[in-house]
């Protein structure tokens, strides 16, 4: 088995954490992801924007009880990228 290239977008602690959460829950509020990852709002926002630009997730902004509500939802492309990343990781772990 050869070493496969790791998706640089996912090979990052916070971005990978966000994608792991969304893979498990499909859709989650920004505040929920922030709480689970223990990240700062600013850093999380930057990383979410990168994932959004890559088409790995969709960000939806709305209002709930007059308060802004931001939710993130994983896309089909995001799921495929995550699965490919895990497969690539397996090649490293098995070689190691």
């Amino acid at each position: 088995m050869e070493f496969k290239d790791l998706d640089p977008l996912l090979h990052n602690q916070l971005r990978l954490a966000v994608m792991s959460i969304l893979l498990n829950r499909n859709e989650a509020e920004f505040t929920y992801i922030k709480e689970k990852t223990d990240a700062t709002a600013g850093n999380l926002s930057v990383q979410v924007t990168k994932l959004k630009k890559a088409g790995y997730l969709i960000v939806n902004k709305s209002f709930k009880n007059n308060y802004p509500l931001t939710t993130c939802k994983i896309t089909k492309k995001g799921i495929e990228a995550f699965e490919a990343y895990v497969k690539a990781l397996e090649s490293y772990i098995q070689k190691g």
Partner: protein, 189 residues
């Protein structure tokens, strides 16, 4: 959580595992509902028995009017619980399907009770409780729901051979085993 300069493959695997673990659905999240329906059915069932076979009341089944009230409490609880968080795990969606399916199954059995008599359909209530508890326990790997659900299924099978008076007692036993006991033993992992 911040970006790390030294980030290797095994740390990635560990992070994925920890995030999935931290966000997974846990059985104790619905503990309140198990108590609500478990004790609700036990109170209604025992009241039916006492009113019908001890007091001699003409309409002992009025005790089941408690069920629509519990339905409203359940609806209000779920609405409040999910109003602040739209995050739902895959397991939570599967369980939602199982329990909504069971609800419609119970409504069909209630319709059957009016059509062919309660004695004929009561065992199906126990079987439905058992299937839902067994499936939930298996999905969440919670052994007390698996055991309780299985016992409830066995009780449902036995109930076919008994008269209505004893079916009432078995219904209470089935709900205790499949709802109340597992809920008392639920703990946050």
């Amino acid at each position: 959580m911040n970006q790390s300069s030294e980030w290797n493959e095994s740390q990635s695997i560990q992070l994925i595992r920890s995030m999935i673990e931290a966000t997974k659905y846990q059985v104790y999240e619905e503990k309140f509902l198990y108590f609500l329906w478990g004790y609700g059915v036990i109170i209604a069932g025992l009241s039916h028995y006492v009113l019908g076979y001890i007091v001699g009341f003409e309409h002992p089944y009025v005790s089941w009017l408690l069920m629509p009230v519990l339905g409203l409490v359940n609806f209000g609880y779920m609405r409040q619980k999910h109003s602040g968080n739209s995050s739902r795990s895959w397991a939570a969606r599967v369980l939602k399907g199982i329990w909504i399916g069971m609800l419609f199954g119970i409504l069909c059995v209630v319709a059957g009770g009016f059509a062919i008599g309660w004695h004929a359909v009561y065992p199906f209530f126990m079987i439905l409780y058992g299937v839902a508890a067994f499936a939930t326990g298996t999905a969440l790997e919670y052994k007390w729901l698996i055991i309780g659900g299985f016992i409830s299924l066995v009780i449902g099978g036995v109930a076919f051979f008994l008269v209505f008076q004893f079916q009432l007692i078995l219904l209470v036993a089935a709900v205790f085993m499949s709802f109340v006991l597992p809920a008392h033993l639920m703990q946050k992992k």
